[in-house]
């Protein structure tokens, strides 16, 4: 089992607090788009659709395979983008089947979850306990 963040979308209330603390931790910024976790709420044909996008640290990772510059590596089960090798081409963003990476204007390296070194901020701030950290 690889370490990763799991979101119980039934319990998620879509408050976006996870995104706020993620952008603080990784960019020292107030910007929900600079976040490795992304929550959206839609009602489609009378059905509520809460969508949580966060890296699953899959093995082997689709994003790494798509990267021509070998900028994506797996360290102790954690999929990591090496900033100095990344050119910001965005191929990995397109390759991820879970939509867990994203490109944001003015930020070269695509943004994704790095598990905060094993103590994820989003898990700690979630008011309903919907976000769980599953360690290896």
């Amino acid at each position: 089992m690889v370490p990763r963040i799991e979101v119980d979308t039934e319990r998620c209330v879509c408050c976006h607090l996870c995104e706020l603390v993620c952008s603080y931790r990784h960019f020292h910024s107030v910007s929900t788009s600079r976040s490795g976790i992304r929550i959206t709420f839609t009602i489609f044909k009378d059905d509520v659709l809460v969508d949580a996008r966060v890296c699953r640290h899959c093995d082997p990772p689709y994003c790494a395979r798509a990267c021509e510059y070998d900028a994506i590596v797996v360290n102790n089960g954690i999929v990591t983008i090496l900033g100095d090798r990344c050119t910001g081409c965005g191929d990995c963003v397109k390759a991820c089947p879970y939509g867990a990476l994203r490109k944001v204007p003015n930020v070269k390296v695509p943004i994704k979850c790095d598990l905060c070194g094993g103590d994820p901020e989003c898990v700690k701030v979630c008011p309903t306990g919907a976000i769980r950290y599953v360690s290896a």
Partner: protein, 620 residues
């Protein structure tokens, strides 16, 4: 407050969209606006007074609709999801605004704007698309006529699910006077007709997508405070009950305390309140909880019944349930669903239907008038049919769509039991037993609404309060809720329901803006906002009368005939005394007009001049 520039909290830009010319312009947010009026309601009141000509027709291109955020909106601060929307009201002819949660306000700031000012009128239906400092006016022929959830989902499919959409429904398009703005499938704002004004401008929706950053002076402190607050609120004893039922806990509380509106506010205890209570909702309808942006204490009750999804809260269920004598929760939920989809205010709708039912039962409206609909209390079918008639302005629905005031005009006898202040319908607290709350309604700057002062709980908890203390407390509360919270851009419920210290918001404001703000600065800003809004009303009406600050006659003249508080009514003399004190403490004349001296003390010399330009000389 110090005279320095804010170092964060604001994006520093205002988007101005002229629908007549299909052009937009980006302006700097004036420093004066930030320092003297803070944000939200403060921005709206000042901009309306400064920029719109006196006596304009609210539904003409001259009216402006302003969406304004506050300095804390979108920041890592508890409940920072609020956006305020306001304009000149087509229902009251005066100032109106409303705030809504969700994440529209935060998105707007991430897109780089503190506020959007919408001017003019489009020939064809359009929507506005805003993305990271850019704006586009897009044809909306295909969306015109759609219900709010269909409109929102369509736009999200087109522009991405992360976008925030605020739109109007058919009620706004058909200029129903209490049509509002709906965001995020059920976050509603702008009761006294903001939706109708947008409808008159042929503006169906605003879509915002923002990927930018909001500058902040001291982010580390904000995050430390946020973590602390989230932990405290989550560990609070009330957390569990609150997140399960939200404001729906109030149904039984109001019933026990004889302040539930029952059958057009005639009585205050509903025999079947237990059938529409928070528990019933939780047990039979609730399906999940939903929160607004950055909310640690989510209270949105997402309910599912049949194939419908709807969010329920106290005001809606009290007004469309108890106030209409309807005790079938499913039917109430269905009516709420209809009003959200059509984009009209559930409070005013419940109030208007209540009055119509009373008129019907008294024989003033006949079944001939209603097109055969048996508009009696408790008849949920009839109420539902009437909602359709109102939205599509069919038959008598066309009169009901104009609000309670129009009904009074048409049926003069209805004056005695029309539940409104300043032509805006009373929301869901019955005040036979609560003169202080009645004063709160009557002096609310947008017409009868509880958002400025939910005074009833303090009043009932302290029955021995002297009237002096009562009025002082009421003004204090208006300044906090209607001043501070309406301007800073956060929800007030963490403070109201969980006792979160006001100091938190002040520290957050300091960290965000870098300004040495104190509570007394904020109180001054609140006073300023109240005075500007009162001056706006006076300019629009050309005069002011004491009776404009009176609550409905029913609370004075018809004592409760049932329940533990049988016989209760408001004593007119007591009310007059309270109103007198209210004016005195606000620095207004015996007729409720702000004195020049009061305005000067608040640094509002420009307002004195502005009124003089409209031939109104304020008293010394």
């Amino acid at each position: 407050m110090s005279q320095l520039d804010p170092k964060g909290g604001y994006t520093g830009k205002i988007l101005r969209v002229d629908l007549s010319r299909r052009k937009y312009r980006i302006e700097e947010t004036p420093r004066d606006l930030m320092i003297r009026f803070l944000g939200g309601r403060g921005f709206i009141a000042k901009i309306l007074l400064d920029e719109t000509a006196p006596h304009i027709d609210p539904l003409s291109p001259d009216n402006k609709v302003i969406f304004a955020t506050g300095p804390l909106t979108g920041l890592p601060v508890a409940g920072s999801g609020k956006c305020v929307v306001g304009c000149k009201s087509p229902e009251s002819g005066g100032y109106c605004d409303g705030n809504f949660g969700g994440y529209f306000g935060p998105m707007l700031k991430y897109a780089g704007f503190d506020a959007i000012v919408i001017e003019g009128r489009s020939e064809r239906p359009v929507y506005i698309y805003v993305e990271d400092g850019q704006c586009e006016i897009v044809n909306a022929d295909d969306l015109w006529g759609s219900t709010t959830s269909v409109c929102e989902t369509t736009l999200k499919e087109r522009h991405g699910r992360e976008c925030a959409v605020a739109c109007i429904g058919p009620a706004g398009e058909n200029l129903v006077k209490y049509a509002n703005v709906i965001h995020d499938y059920g976050r509603a704002g702008g009761r006294p007709g903001v939706g109708a004004v947008l409808g008159s401008k042929k503006l169906k929706a605003i879509v915002v997508r923002g990927t930018g950053e909001i500058p902040v002076h001291d982010l580390d402190s904000l995050i430390v405070m946020l973590r602390d607050v989230v932990r405290k609120l989550r560990d609070s004893q009330f957390y569990d009950t609150w997140t399960r039922q939200g404001t729906m806990v109030t149904i039984l509380w109001s019933n026990e305390n004889s302040c539930l509106p029952v059958r057009n506010f005639r009585e205050a205890v509903f025999e079947n309140a237990h059938k529409i209570s928070g528990e019933v909702m939780e047990k039979f309808l609730k399906y999940r909880t939903r929160g607004c942006f950055a909310c640690p204490t989510p209270c949105g009750n997402l309910c599912r019944f049949g194939k419908h999804v709807v969010e329920l809260d106290y005001e809606q269920v009290a007004m469309l349930g108890a106030n209409l004598g309807i005790d079938d929760m499913l039917h109430v939920a269905y009516m709420v669903k209809l009003s959200d989809e059509y984009g009209m205010d559930t409070i005013s709708l419940g109030n208007v239907l209540g009055l119509a039912m009373e008129l019907y039962e008294r024989g003033l409206i006949t079944s001939e008038d209603t097109g055969g609909v048996e508009l009696r209390f408790g008849n949920a079918e009839a109420a539902t049919q009437m909602i359709e008639m109102i939205v599509h302005r069919k038959g008598i629905g066309s009169i009901l769509a104009e609000g309670v005031a129009k009904l009074v005009e048409k049926y003069p006898e209805a004056r005695k039991f029309a539940m409104q202040c300043k032509n805006v319908e009373i929301s869901a607290y019955n005040c036979h037993i609560a003169p202080g709350m009645a004063l709160a309604y009557a002096t609310s700057p947008i017409g009868a609404h509880h958002k400025d002062a939910w005074f009833i709980s303090i009043e009932l908890k302290n029955p021995d309060m002297s009237i002096e203390e009562k009025v002082q407390k009421l003004i204090w509360m208006q300044n906090i809720r209607g001043g501070l919270f309406e301007c800073i851009g956060t929800c007030r419920l963490q403070w109201v329901e969980f006792g979160l210290d006001l100091d938190y918001y002040i520290r957050a404001l300091r960290a965000a803006t870098g300004l040495e703000i104190t509570l007394s600065d904020l109180m001054t800003i609140a006073e300023r906002v109240y005075n500007v809004i009162r001056c706006y009303w006076i300019r629009e009406l050309g005069h002011w009368k004491r009776e404009y600050d009176y609550p409905p006659q029913r609370w004075f003249e018809e004592p409760l005939t049932s329940g533990p508080r049988k016989g209760a009514r408001i004593d007119r003399e007591t009310y007059e005394k309270m109103l007198q004190l209210y004016y005195k403490y606000r620095g207004w004349t015996e007729d409720g007009v702000p004195r020049k001296e009061t305005l000067r003390k608040l640094g509002l010399e420009d307002i004195i001049e502005a009124l003089r330009a409209s031939d109104i000389e304020l008293p010394d």
